[in-house]
Each structure stands twice: as C-alpha cells, then as structure tokens.
Symmetry: C2
Subunit: 256 residues, 2 copies
DNA sequence: CACTGCAATATGTATGACAATTCACCAAGA
DNA sequence: TCTTGGTGAATTGTCATACATATTGCAGTG
C-alpha cells in the first residue's frame, strides 16, 4: 500500500485511506495538546505540503475531525481547534487518541469512575429487561471467559461480556458506552502486560452478575457489578501506587 | 445563499455549507430508517445528481457520516449503512436526527432513564470535587432560572444549569453528556409547547441541588437530583398517558 | 474621524481525470 | 459438471486545477 511519502509525520499508521491517516495524525496531535484549543491549524495548502497529499484528502480529513467536534473551519479564518467541551470524547477515535495522549493512570481513573456510575445501573436494567436472546449473549461471553486459555482470550470475552450487559439493558443510548468499555479494558490490558497468573480470580465475580441478571434481581445485579468494579478499582489503585514509587509497575504482585 | 437546486430533497435546511446539508439529509434519512443498516446508499454519482452538487460535496458529507459511525465506504462496494450498534448515538447531530426520527415518548423515556443514571452521580461528584469557579457557574445558571421572564429563557438556563453540574463533577468523560441534556431539554421544550403557567414549580428542586453541592454533601445532592428527575418523570408519564388517549397532548393541565 | 469599498486570503465548490479495489461473470481445464 | 483462474466493469479513492464565496483588514474618501 502506498503510504504517505514525506518522511516524518505519520509513523506506522498503515491502515486504510489517506484522508483517514491524515485525520488520525492531526486528531492525535490535537488530543496530545500539540494544537491547543483556540489554535489555528496549518491551512490546507500547508497540510497538503506536509503530508504530501492532495487537498481533497486533507479536506476530507478535516471533515472527519469536524464531525468529531475537534475543529471548526470557516472561510478566510482557517481551521480552529474547538474548546475541549465540544470534543466528542465518547467517539471511538477521539477516545483512543485521548487514551494515548493522557496520562495513563488519570485516564483509567476517569474511565473507572464512569464505569462505576453506569455499569451497575445497566446491570440492574438488564436484570429487569433482558430478553432470552440477550441472556444467551451474556452466557456465551461468560462461557468464553471460563474456557479462556490465555489472557488475550479472556480479555476478548470480558469485553464482550460487558457489552452484552449494556445491550441487554434495553436502552439504545447506553450502547455507545461500549466504546468506553472496549477502550478501558484494552488499556487495562496494556497496563497489566504480562503478570498473567491471576487473571482468573475475577471469574466468580462475573458469574455472580450473570446469576443475578438471570434471576431478574436488579438490586443483586447492581451489587455484584459494584463488587467487580471495586476489585478492579483496587488493582488500579495498586498500580497507581506502584508506578508512583517505582519507574513502572514492573511485576505487580497480586490482583488484590 | 444558494440553496440546493433540485427541488425535492432537502427541505428547509438553510444553514451552512453544501456538504453539511447533504450530510444532514442523508443522516436524517438513515436515522429515520429510510436507509436500513446493511443497505447500500445510492452511489456518489447518483447522489450528485439527486442533490445537484459536485462529487466533492457529496464525498465530504460521506466522510462526516463515516466519522459518526453511520456508514462505511469501500471501493467497488459503495457506502453501506452500518449496524445500529456502531452508530455514535451520543454525537450531537446523530442524537438530533434520532430524536427527530424516533417516537417522541420512547426517545424521552430512554433519555430520562440515562439521565436518571448519570445526573445524580454527577451531582454527587460535583459536591465533592467542585472548584469555586465551577460553583460560580452553577450559581449563575440558577440565578438565570430564577430571573427568567419566559419559558425560553428558563430553558436556556436550565440547560446551562445541568451542564454546569456535569462540568463541576471533574470528570472529562462526563462532559459529552451535555449533548444529551441539551437535546433532551430541547425536545422536552418542543413537547411542552405552550402550557407555560407552571414551569416555575421546578425551581425549588433546582435550588436544593445547589445547596447540597455547595455544602459538599454528595448524598444530599444525589437525592435532590433524584427528586427533580422524579418530578420530570411524572410529567413525562402524564404526557405519555394523555397522548396515548387523545391525539396530541394538546393542553396538558398541570406539571404534577 | 467615520464610513465605504477594494484587495488579499482562506475555505467552499466544481470538474475532469486516473488509480485502486473488489465483485461478478466467463472461459478453460479436470 | 464442477472447479479454478483470469478478466472486465463498477465504485470509491486520490489528484490537479480553477473558480466562488466569505471575512478580514487596509486604504481611500467624505
């Protein structure tokens, strides 16, 4: 695939189309603070030069960023970075850029806070509203976790598990939070790295959630999710402490 | 401003650029179900013809829709509508289209459910985390509500009030929900229409929230918001009943 | 000093051409 | 007949260029 010619800018983004690559790069740089809110981006001609692409590609990239609330373009002015409040932090791409840019522990803390708000209630709703098909989805994910051979497989089904619960809650507006969960668990995964001896400990906690949902007991489901998230929170706090002291959380000892 | 030439398609969208208008129209039609998930949109040449614009404009519109997760384009295939799960329902535009397309009462019910999950916790967080500047913002909004002369002004500050609390919660990931609130209250406003004799009744409920936050009492703040949302919920239920019986909620009598 | 108009500049739009991708059909061989 | 391989066509992806439009700021004029 023909990558962007000019040397420096885009590093290893080898996926998809040019405008997508340009959008990725500029978006990431905005989230990284390289372009601050209120700043003017280089004009389109300049960007064409820098990225070595046509104006069409640059403009389509701009339109994507505009749709995500990151910038606003006006004739004669240029493209200006919007204030942070109008960024769609829940957009899949924006979230990824944010998570790559922000400090890891801070990002995970915010994420965990939101999960602590949403997921217990989502589980409670799921306990009330779930259909049999949705219940099957949850079960399948749980089975996947039970049979997971390694951490990678476990994480895959873990994500699927939480998504299935959101889905079963029966409120479409909750579904977009799947992005959050996906990103959170993905980052967690990067974070934990290779201390893979104890990732199974969380299984009973997940199982308890499923039982509560199946029996249609919202309050029990809420509590079960809180228990799970409390456990995760402990892990995060542990990491935060360790990475605060030492360089990196080289080998964190135990999950709790 | 030169509007789109061809007669039918775009009705009264007289704002901004061509690609924006095209995106608006196609986006709205997708949300309306006119193009179902999995369907192929008309190809770009066709759209150029239909909307009477150049391919540039159409393509930039497509890129905006792609960024919102509504469609995906591939060579030789065309642009296909993505499954509902990957729609960014929390995107400002998508939410507006959704709200215009879905049945009003259903939409408001979902919205209210999500608010019921988020806002009490946001208020509790705000009670703990708020800075003095953020507190001033909340106060200002409350004052605006108190002094509002008409329903329009009241609603403006009402939105600002809830946004200020989200902001004060100190979690960036909560801010995008401002879009939700904005849209919710906007639709509510359309919904209530003109029975404007009693919109002041909710003022004390708002005031209670502010007091709790200022005193840094998270539990009290949580309860206060629940009280307010409970009130709103009653209004919604009332409307649902009335519009269920009669044609439209022509003149709903009282807020509670 | 204030107002009007013009020029400069950036994005917005149009057009036409070619590249890249992949589906669908058709033909050749087992 | 079924499979396999190639070839063509349809559609988006990208490029280049030109012109339109909007906004700013300056300059000229009353």
């Amino acid at each position: 695939m023909r990558q962007i010619r000019q040397a420096g800018r885009i590093a290893a983004v080898r996926k998809s189309s040019l405008h997508h690559q340009v959008a990725q790069d500029i978006g990431a740089r905005i989230l990284k603070g390289e372009f601050a809110p209120g700043d003017l981006l280089p004009n389109e001609a300049e960007s064409c030069r820098v990225y070595g692409v046509s104006r069409t590609a640059v403009r389509e990239a701009m339109k994507m960023l505009t749709a995500k609330g990151l910038i606003i373009s006006r004739p004669k002015i240029g493209s200006r970075v919007q204030p942070r409040d109008s960024w769609n932090l829940l957009d899949r791409d924006v979230l990824v850029w944010y998570c790559a840019a922000a400090e890891r522990s801070h990002f995970l803390a915010s994420m965990h806070e939101v999960r602590g708000i949403l997921e217990p209630e989502a589980a409670a709703l799921a306990a009330v509203n779930h259909t049999s098909e949705q219940m099957r989805g949850i079960d399948a994910a749980l089975v996947g976790m039970r049979d997971a051979a390694d951490l990678v497989a476990w994480n895959t089904y873990d994500v699927r598990f939480h998504l299935a619960i959101l889905w079963a809650a029966g409120n479409e507006l909750l579904v977009p939070f799947g992005f959050l969960i996906e990103s959170a668990l993905g980052t967690m995964f990067d974070f934990t790295g290779r201390h893979n001896q104890d990732w199974r400990k969380a299984y009973p906690l997940h199982e308890a959630i499923v039982v509560a949902i199946r029996k249609r007991r919202p309050e029990a489901a809420r509590k079960a999710v809180r228990a799970l998230l409390g456990d995760t929170g402990n892990v995060l706090a542990q990491w935060a402490r360790e990475s605060g002291r030492g360089k990196r959380p080289a080998r964190s000892k135990a999950r709790r």
